[in-house]
Symmetry: C2
């Protein structure tokens, strides 16, 4: 196997797995190539630098996650139920990773935002675009819920930012405590943030 | 300067500054000693390993932050106003760092949680203790607010977790977008999460 698109995919897959496990900074190109089972020359045929690889990993992960988000947020269910679907999907995803490799990996974008954003401007820019897009998608659903009278927010964009921040904060704790159950309260917290009818009396006994 | 406590402090200060700027994994002991202006031999006199240094940096930072939190949360002001003070203090702190070095550094504990928790168990354990303590402190204030009828939460601990998660999520975005203003909505978001009277109609026009 040499300079084939299969080799490129193997490098991307190995890099993503290593980045999720140990972060980006600690990785070397030789280690990535060894894990991918490709010669080091292949790496520089496909990627100009380790940073270029990081951007490609981010882009590939977002392409997949964007499809997942669009699927769950684009149904014809009630808007708030679509948001609940997003949280359930997130929790199920983290649970699946934990069952597969023993540890909750967290959010690749959040991990890289905190590890890299202050010393890798291209990565920072790409992650800003991704989180802007996530907020766009949530904002559209929140605006729809508001038009129906389901929520009371006066600023759907700020409310959407709060929801995405809540998601990232709880995913951080799910990773730190290696506990996907940490994501179970997201639905109640989201309804409270949005002032959903009756939600400000939080349900008892959540995980 | 050799094996003095001054040398230890210089190592700790340099390490914290470098970790905040570039993360932990990318650092080497030689680089830390060079920045601290101490010989490499001094490092191993004070610290068994780089990980031991990371734990010492975390402990020192938490000792200071804990005092700040206790001060602002321990006043005799109304409980919700104490929480507002916590958010204002956090925003002012991130703004001061940005003014000093050009970039928002984020939360040292959140940064290390995402960078290290899956491959440095001692650091994970220490960060869990710190976030547990933060949740304890917020929970006490939330319970007091509930006893006064200021908020409607049924589970003060889960509500406190949501508040700390919101804080960490918004601090992540303050770092990613290099914008301390991202922290301004924390007060409105906290009141919404807690079901504070009237808060679920969010105030308009926030930053």
């Amino acid at each position: 196997m040499g300079r084939t698109s299969e080799a490129r995919q193997k490098i991307l897959g190995a890099a993503r797995s290593l980045i999720e496990g140990r972060g980006y900074s600690a990785l070397g190109v030789a280690e990535i190539c060894k894990a991918a089972g490709v010669p080091k020359g292949s790496f520089y045929y496909f990627f100009e630098s380790k940073e270029a690889l990081a951007l490609a990993v981010v882009d590939e992960h977002w392409a997949a996650q964007r499809r997942d988000w669009e699927t769950v947020l684009g149904t014809d269910a009630d808007p708030l139920l679509r948001l609940r679907g997003l949280f359930e999907q997130t929790e199920a995803g983290q649970r699946a990773v934990q069952e597969g490799c023993g540890t909750v990996s967290g959010c690749l974008f959040g991990n890289l935002a905190l590890e890299l954003s202050n010393h890798a401007e291209p990565v920072r820019g790409r992650l800003q675009e991704i989180f802007d897009a996530q907020v766009d998608m949530v904002e559209a659903v929140v605006a729809e819920a508001r038009d129906r009278g389901d929520v009371t927010v006066s600023d759907p964009r700020e409310a959407a930012r709060a929801v995405v921040a809540q998601l990232e904060g709880q995913v951080m704790f799910a990773k730190l405590y290696n506990s996907p159950q940490r994501l179970s309260p997201l639905w109640d917290n989201c309804r409270a943030l949005l002032g959903a009818a009756g939600s400000w009396t939080r349900s008892a006994g959540q995980a």
